[in-house]
Symmetry: C2
Subunit: 234 residues, 2 copies
DNA sequence: GTCTATACATAGATAGAC
DNA sequence: GTCTATCTATGTATAGAC
């Protein structure tokens, strides 16, 4: 299996790459035109937004906070973003694209259900670690968004959960996994994976590495879904 | 095992009982003196706070929102609370007291580790369902609190987790459970229990009852911690 | 006890100089 | 491209009539 360091190197998830993509797709969005400048400042703005929001909440973050943290004046800030609301849309949309791309790519690789499941658990964990601030933000702020944005958030949760549901279902049909409620099981897997980035303080304090955590979750899930040795032999 | 309806009837967790307790302990806190009035309005205020905050976040809830929702004028509101901040303190403190009381009480009842574990899982779930708004609020707003209040929140998470750690440890020592990383296992149980109130929409949509969910979590955890039949027999 | 009216601070956003 | 100064809306909180 891949280590987290290898994963992080393999997929370039830097905020810079993300902002460059965004600028090239929406070149006329900002008042400023030079790519290098836009990317440089957009990186600052988005990084600062995630950091401040994850400390005290997006709503509590004022644009003045953002100005102080980025070193840009109020006026400069508003030449890159149309307002606070747009920040939410950019962050969410760019994040989702990456998540969909990486997760579906990783799962396609696996051959049998068992291997696919391990791969999905590990990739989901690694991805959330590489984009921890984004995942945390996305989870915590969802309920404060507009109804429409909330819907997209829920769709994303259900999309990633569906990846697990499909793997589990395929495994059941193939007789590799024992019969089970695949929806509940997939929901449980999601909850375990989310706990990693929702409570970083807990795992840091106990010095649990992400590789250990991946093995633990895999073991816990497998103990539940694999046919027990006793039942399988006769 | 007890059903949720029975649990809810057994322990009276109404907001009214909670507010009455609070008033009797802090009789000189509010400007208003008549118990019936204070309790009646405090119930309105706290209920409204939880409802609005859980929809758009505590920070985004204005005192004017609170005034509209409770039917009390701004002036009247401020004769029950000293400010928005105090609301947080009241809600958190009263909630914690109840959680500690109910959980420790329920776990003391169980005899052996296995029974205690089931009891703890079920009670934690039922309690979070009976006080769903409070649990959701507590989870979502923690990161937005003052450093000191955050510490109390984390202590609470660790306290309830410790209940599970102790049960698991006792079970391991008694040879009833197989050897395991009890801290990781307890953390996983917490994550599964929290998922119930963090994503009510998911379970509602799938028509999963809380009794079913309790059985599912118990089954999942037991599959992991019980010595496997194959390993146990020789 | 409850209300209305209001003070005062801070928020988001923009105009126009440089 | 970036800054400072400023507008307007909204927020928390209080004073004082009833």
């Amino acid at each position: 299996m891949m280590t987290f360091a290898e994963f992080q190197e393999l997929v370039n998830l830097s905020m810079e790459a993300l902002c460059r993509d965004f600028f090239r797709e929406n070149p006329d969005r900002a008042r400023v035109k030079k790519e290098a400048t836009v990317v440089r400042n957009l990186v600052k703005i988005l990084d600062a937004t995630l950091m401040i929001s994850n400390q005290k909440g997006f709503q509590a973050m004022s644009v003045r906070d953002l100005s102080r943290e980025t070193g840009l004046s109020m006026g400069a800030l508003y030449s890159y973003i149309s307002g606070k609301e747009e920040l939410l849309a950019i962050i969410r949309a760019q994040g989702y694209r990456i998540v969909v791309r990486i997760l579906t790519g990783a799962i396609a690789e696996g051959s049998d259900p068992h291997e696919k499941l391990r791969q999905a658990i590990q990739t989901h964990l690694y991805l959330s670690e590489a984009m921890r601030a984004w995942f945390y933000f996305s989870y915590m702020e969802t309920k404060n968004l507009s109804k429409e944005e909330q819907k997209k958030s829920i769709q994303m949760e259900l999309f990633t959960e569906k990846l697990f549901i499909d793997i589990l279902s395929a495994g059941c049909r193939a007789g590799r996994f024992r019969p089970m409620n695949v929806e509940l099981t997939a929901a449980a897997i999601k909850a375990l994976l989310q706990d990693w980035y929702l409570k970083p303080w807990k795992h840091q304090r106990r010095k649990v590495t992400i590789e250990e955590y991946a093995r633990f979750v895999t073991g816990l899930v497998e103990a539940y879904i694999l046919p027990s040795p006793a039942a399988a032999s006769p």
